[in-house]
Amino acid sequence: MSETAPSSQRLSPLVTVLLLIGAGIMLMPMLWTLLLSFKSNAALMADSGSAFMPPWTLENYAAIFQGSLTTRWLINSLIVSTGSTIGVLVLSSLAGYGFARLDFPFRRTLFVIVLLGLAVPEQAVILPRHQLFAMLGLHNSYPGLILPSLTGAFGVFFMTQYFRAIPPELDEAALLDGASRLTLFWKVLLPLTWPAQATLGVFTFLGSWNDYWWPLISATTSDYFTLTVGLASAQMNYAQTSGLGFLMAQAVFASIPILVVYIAFQKQIVRAMAGTAVR
């Protein structure tokens, strides 16, 4: 696709200007949020235009750490997203290796079932899942929030394709080198899947971080809210006028981890978005 031109290519001035305008429009709400977060609620209630004028304050950020549940929600989100990511990577790698390399009964059938999983929308299973989790007493717990993401078929499919692309000669060389199956998997194949792990990991993490629907259903006590659910609930509780600065500080605070992930994995994210083969 032409929009993924190599960065070394010079852009024409017109394109540069258009891109700058586009970026400005995208950035505006974020900068506005950042600005508002440094103003006291009272000042904003009087006139939100005062955001451009001092005095600025850190009191909204202080409020997050004193008494509000935002830190707790942040930690919940971190636990759930990290747990989902690790779980998906482990399961997908093992399953992908199995589907790509091992010969076992019903392998094809099972793989087709996995592929069918890609076609089932979450909406179709969320009700039975809710009932199942209620029966098992999994609501309002970390496992209850993490487990559903581990059933995703995409990771298995993705890793299977990646393992298939590794030349089988490498396995054979390792077998002749006296490697056990475990050594072969751990020391030879898995290190080669690092780019795939990074891509899949980043997407799982972001997906889990931004997930709203399932945590909204599963976590009913605010102790188990994730950030998305927590922030939304806060917006309902505080009239947007009376707590605007605090609300914005929450939003800024909540986006720090995701910003870190984006910066750390920029390369993988851009590649995955551009759809180029990751190697």
Binding site: E172, L176, D177, G178, A179, S180, P191
Partner: protein, 365 residues
């Protein structure tokens, strides 16, 4: 100590038979080449020996021990893969150490073996590079190095030279020849390049159609091919085959009338071949020369001239349609389209029965 022994090895993929009752015996330090056309089962046989492929029936023994039930890593065999199969994420040193670590070889022993192999292959300065940073020729050496450090009883090489350019190819060929002198092991090399097999191997195993067609030294395979297939497959340019009929045995030697009418008095013993039996007469290029005009040669039309400098191969076609390749010393001036006369050294001709059985010329009494 005995080398490698294959006993009646057979292999099918589904309903397709790939190897059919292959038996072969190789001495402990022999250099063997598997030679054959594409799809003849060379790689499959190699992989069965390595343990990468199971066999349907038969036995494999190495050094007096039956190995066909053993895991690939437990057979004392090292293999150099066609595409090298180096571990891309490991340095050269780690690539070579991997098998030794798995075999629990002590650390300093590993270091000294790697140093020694690196020395032999002149890759000492590359040990900390990754395969991706190396040229094809260098990767090839690393692959060989990885095999050497294991000190195997048998080296297997699947088309080791096919990925190299011409210059590197002949250099690596020399190195393979040196390698066999350095290691105390047998070597089997798969190739479909007969020049490679001829230069390097002590014995050549010619394979075709699921079976071993002939096992012999390069000289034997060339001079006394076991059947029409081997005769045609070995030698470049290939042996010409002329259809004919036996007309009589003269002093115990076959006389053959070719389809074009010419008669050849061969040096092949007539015993066991019926008069009037259809046969093919095999003629190597070096036994066919251009006859001076007016002499009693066989008429032919030149189709292609291959001038190699020291000699010229002249591809001709007889009136009845068969192709015959003649050889002239030096730089011949004939051109495609020329009418020439061929002089045939009938005493050197091979004769093949309709079933492919070979009959070789006997030294004249």
């Amino acid at each position: 100590m005995s080398g490698l022994e294959l006993i009646d090895v057979s292999k099918s993929y589904g309903a397709t038979r790939v190897l059919d009752g292959v038996s072969l015996s190789i001495a402990p330090r022999e250099f063997i080449a598997f030679l054959g056309p594409s799809g003849s089962g060379k790689s499959t046989l190699l992989r069965i020996i390595a343990g990468l492929e199971t066999l349907d029936s038969g036995e494999v023994h190495l050094g007096g021990q039956r190995i066909d039930g053993l895991a690939p890593g437990a057979r004392g065999i090292a293999m150099v893969f066609q595409h090298y199969a180096l571990y891309p994420h490991m340095t050269v040193r780690e690539n070579m150490a991997f098998g030794l670590i798995n075999a629990k070889v002590p650390k300093d022993e590993i270091a000294s073996r790697i140093a020694q192999a690196a020395d032999i292959l002149e890759i000492g300065s590359q040990l900390d590079k990754k395969p991706g940073q190396m040229s094809g020729g260098q990767r090839q050496r690393v692959a060989i190095g990885r095999a050497i450090v294991k000190q195997p009883r048998l080296f297997l090489l699947d088309e080791p030279l096919s990925n190299l350019d011409a210059a590197l190819r002949s250099r690596t060929r020399v190195e393979l020849a040196q390698l066999r002198n350095r290691v105390d092991a047998a070597l089997i090399m798969v190739t479909h390049d007969q020049a490679e097999a001829m230069t390097l191997a002590d014995r050549i195993v010619v394979m075709n159609d699921r079976r071993i067609q002939q096992v012999g030294t390069p000289a034997e395979v060339y001079a006394r091919p076991a059947n029409a297939f081997v005769a045609r497959f070995v030698g470049s340019p290939a042996m010409a085959m002329l259809a004919g009929r036996v007309i009589s045995g003269e002093s115990g030697r076959l006389r053959v009338r070719l389809a074009g009418g010419a008669e050849l008095q061969t040096a092949v013993a007539a015993a066991g071949i019926a008069a009037d039996a259809p046969v093919e007469v095999g003629l190597r290029p070096e036994h066919v020369t251009l006859a001076p005009p007016g002499s009693g040669g066989i008429a032919a039309t030149v189709e292609l001239v291959e001038r190699l400098g020291d000699r010229t191969f002249i591809y001709t076609r007889l009136a009845e349609g068969s192709e015959v390749i003649a050889c002239a010393p030096g730089f011949s001036e004939v051109r495609p389209g020329d009418e020439v006369l061929l002089a045939i050294d009938a005493a050197a001709a091979h004769v093949f029965s309709a079933d492919g059985t070979a009959h070789h010329p006997e030294a004249s009494a």
